[in-house]
């Protein structure tokens, strides 16, 4: 009995040594992979990006250290290597996604700055024109006044001349008044359009029922929703709530002025602003897709100011199920 125990003991010892030798051999690869993995895990930038892939790689490493003997070893080692590679690549992917998003935000910011700059320049030109008109009209009036005074003192022929100058001055003054009125009118048109925002109703479009927010819901040239667009937005929220089963597609559109790039980005940014607003109102984000179409799908002619205003819009569409 004693000898049997001794024999058993020595057998166990030999077997143990063999396992330890095997384990020591595996350790080289295992060590290399787990070092690479912990390097990824502790990486200040990448470490947080691929937690689930890191966990899968760790599981593969565990499988390698527990079962990686004999014939299975090659396969388990290969799998562990690949899973570590995948974890690294996934972390890098997420890092790039973050960079991409940041650059995209920066891009939008720059596009808006460019659009604002253009608008600013246009406004300055208009102001200059208006000032010039005013100066011209005052000058004409002054000349007419002088002519009339002269006319009273001098002959009828001279008076006739003065009358002519007066008529010319009147015509010029009328022209100026007309220009001023035009400028006022465009302001009035903007106000009328803003009013039009409120009686919003759903219409049937090619892709399903839709509602349209026009560009006065936004600050000019910008993608932020104006505070006074909240009534329109509430209508949109109510509209999309009516059909909770349908996917929501948000399309931003612009008119054809400006570069295609600026338009694309502005329309996209506006579509996203509406998406954010809907989400903030409690609409499930997984229902919503938002895209910028730019100026490619006008609903009215881009020749007139009115048509352009109609083309600057955001459509909110409840997609028909296919």
């Amino acid at each position: 009995m004693n000898r049997l125990a001794l024999l058993l003991c020595s057998f166990v010892c030999v077997a143990g040594t063999a396992v330890r030798v095997e384990a020591a051999r595996i350790d080289v690869d295992h060590e290399r992979l787990s070092r690479s993995l912990s390097q990824l895990e502790t990486d200040a930038k990448l470490g947080s990006y691929a937690a689930s892939e890191i966990a899968r790689a760790q599981a593969a490493l565990l499988a390698l250290s527990e079962n990686g003997k004999g014939r299975k070893r090659d396969h388990l080692l290969y799998m562990a290597e690949r899973r570590v590679d995948i974890a690294w690549a996934t972390a890098q992917l997420h890092d790039f996604e973050k960079q991409d998003a940041e650059l995209q935000r920066e891009h939008n910011r720059l596009q808006l700055a460019a659009a604002r700059h253009e608008a600013e320049q246009a406004r300055r030109e208009l102001d200059q024109q208006r000032l010039l008109n005013q100066i011209r009209a005052e000058e004409a009036q002054r000349q007419a006044e002088e002519a009339r005074i002269l006319g009273e003192e001098e002959t009828a022929a001279v008076r006739e001349e003065a009358d002519q100058a007066q008529r010319l001055a009147d015509a010029q003054a009328r022209e100026t008044a007309l220009a001023r009125r035009e400028a006022e009118l465009s302001g009035a048109a903007a106000d009328a359009l803003r009013l039009r925002l409120n009686p919003m109703s759903a219409t049937r479009g090619a892709k399903g029922m839709q509602m349209t927010l026009d560009d006065l819901a936004f600050a000019p040239g910008q993608a932020d929703l104006r505070a006074d667009a909240s009534a329109s937005l509430a209508k949109v929220v109510e509209f999309v709530r009516r059909d909770p089963g349908k996917q929501i597609r948000i399309e931003g559109h612009t008119d054809s002025t400006g570069s295609a790039d600026v338009n694309q980005v502005l329309s996209q940014k506006r579509a996203y602003a509406v998406l954010d607003a809907l989400q903030a109102a409690g609409i499930d984000a997984s229902r919503i897709t938002a895209i910028g179409v730019g100026s490619e799908q006008p609903v009215a002619s881009n020749e007139s100011a009115q048509g352009r205003a109609q083309n600057r819009r955001v459509d909110i569409i409840l997609l028909e199920k296919q």
Partner: protein, 130 residues
């Protein structure tokens, strides 16, 4: 429980494990290559041929070898190869997305620099006529 009782339980466990292991590979698994084929298709459609040709080739080779092993009724080998093919396809797809994203990042960065330059130029020359 007595120590001898524990030993008996342990040996039953070991025996059943051995039996299971012996039975396992002889039974043809239902769909050994399905996932590997799916992963390979999705890697191809995500542009792996351009961005991760090496990983894509590994995935294809291992899938072919798995098919051969399956014909030889070597199910254990077929399963291992299919798994390796899957992992390669997965890696190829991620690298393809990474490659595309890298291009997009470069493109946007370039555009941003262009706009910035334009804005800087007009800031230096305000009210320039157009």
């Amino acid at each position: 429980m007595t120590p001898s009782g524990m030993k008996i339980h342990a040996s039953i466990l070991v025996l059943s494990a051995v039996l299971l292991a012996a039975c396992g590979p002889t039974r043809p698994p239902s769909d050994v290559l399905g996932n590997a084929q799916l992963n390979l298709a999705s890697a191809r459609s995500s542009g792996a041929a351009t961005f991760a040709p090496l990983e894509l080739r590994f995935a294809e080779e291992r899938l072919e070898q798995a098919q051969v092993a399956l014909q030889d009724r070597n199910y254990a080998l077929a399963t291992s190869l299919a798994e390796e093919s899957e992992a390669n396809s997965e890696l190829a797809a991620i690298k393809a997305r990474l490659g595309k994203l890298r291009e997009s990042v470069d493109r946007v960065r370039q555009k941003n620099a262009d706009i910035q330059r334009m804005l800087d130029a007009s800031a230096r020359d305000p009210g320039g006529d157009r």
